[in-house]
Amino acid sequence: MSSVIDEVPRPSQKSGFGFFESSTTRSLIGGLSVAAAWLVVAALTAFWPDKPESDWTYTGSFAIACAVLAVALALAAFAGVRFGAFQRLQRLSPWLFALALFFAAWEAVTAKLGLLPLPFFPPPQAIVEVVIDDWGRLAEGIFASARLLATGYFLGAAVGFVTGVAIGWSRLAGYWIHPVLRFIGPLPATAWLPLAFFVFPSSFSASIFLIALATGFPVTVLTWSGVACVKSAYYDIARTLGATQRFLVLKVAIPAAMPHVFVGLFMGLGNSFAVLVVAEMLGVKAGLGWYLQWAQGWAAYANMYAALLLMAFLCSGLITLLFRLRDRLLSWQKGLVRW
């Protein structure tokens, strides 16, 4: 809802400068200055000579990429004024400007001035180099991580959900499962790592177990509390209308508990990322976590940064996906937090 309010056009402020009076002129200037900033990054990279004795292969390519981005932003700025397109881009322009400043500073203190020690702090073109030259291994890493994460997460979420409903609904299930959950649940899943790696036949299956465990605990607890919090009046209504036990569970308890379940799924997803990376670093010989460890072993810090960046995109993307799903399923709720 908040975004709707944000997009309500505000009355433009009267300013003394006639030139700045129309908001279209102002947004054009804003867009062009962002483009100019990226052009500066390109020029700085291309024409300021690197520090002697350094050989960065992709300096030119990085400069060209920045210049292309600058041209694209300039075109978008004109298109925005002319056709009212790219409204989202306008909101992003302060961020794009700040990013340009960041890249310029990064380029300057690494490749150009050499103020930061190598190999720990490579320039941006070194990361471009990794992405271009080593994309095969990175893609393999993404695929391996995604496969492991998806299997473990869905398994853990499913088991956690069913367990949570069982504890919330059945006194008997609560009696037997609750103490186990209280005792074992708070233990970080990573503490099981040494045990899991020799009990399970492969490090892959061991990691699935650990990720499922890390996901399952918050999902169980939150589902359980969601089911336990359902207003008894909801059950009374359904009972007087002739509902069976099955109906009460499937059509009353579970839908009413869904907001809680999504909090659990969100917390579980965060936990699963942590366990995924640790498991890949310590046992599984594939995935982005393994790549990170491997790159560090070879002092290939540019590769490490590239893997970190990809990992950030992956995790943030998955959280966004989960929130989108929640917004769709729980559109009946008022006042949802927007991610």
Binding site: K231, Y234, T240, G242, K251, P255, W332
Partner: protein
Amino acid sequence: MVAAIASDHAVRGSTLTLREVSHSFDLEGQPLPVLDRISLQVGRGEFVALLGPSGCGKSTLLRLVAGLDTPTAGSLLAEGREIEAPDPSRVVVFQDPTLYPWRTVRSNVALGLEARGLLRTHGGRIEDALRLVGLTGFANAYPHQLSGGMAQRAALARALVNDPKLLILDEPLGQLDSLTRIAMQAELVSLWQRSRFTALLVTHDVEEALLLAGRVIVLSDRPARIKAEVVNSQPYPRHRGDPHFVELRREVFEQLGLDEAW
């Protein structure tokens, strides 16, 4: 066929018998009596109001009639059979509409049919019930988009769609503003006249009880006992200013021990 429908119409309401019903809650090991030997006979298609001060145990009595709780002593019979569990022939409209927030109005109204697996055969009743309470245009709205009066009407439609033999009304208009309330009282009477179910209304509003019911049962403070019974045989619609109505109202206030304050 026509005769069958007509006679079916006439006997739609169920009878209700309460025999020496007592109930008490367990409050930290101490029994807290709320109902004290209540005996009551409600005829087919009758509209009876239970009137009493707040917290006297009226709502407890309704829960017993609905079959949501079982009494500590005594017995309740609907159509001559013991009430042991909730049954869709006895539907409750609670003080709070308690619509399911994750369902649209239509799907809330469909609840009873869905629970009994009658959605396919009797689905047409949903639109009828929505029309009856004037919510056709809001069928696809979610409860948080409704006003208090609309939500309560949706709750009424959710009850009526099951074609109840006994409609149990637990202060269903208690949370509405006075204007909506007056309009809804008239709607309730016309619904009852058309559908001919037996109605049991709990209220603490003397006027409401006398406007709607043919018989007003006055209950005492907790533990509730039956103090008096006031019969109002005036035809509908009834008017608050009518001299006989005013006389009945005075009589009821007297029974409640409030004749001087009022």
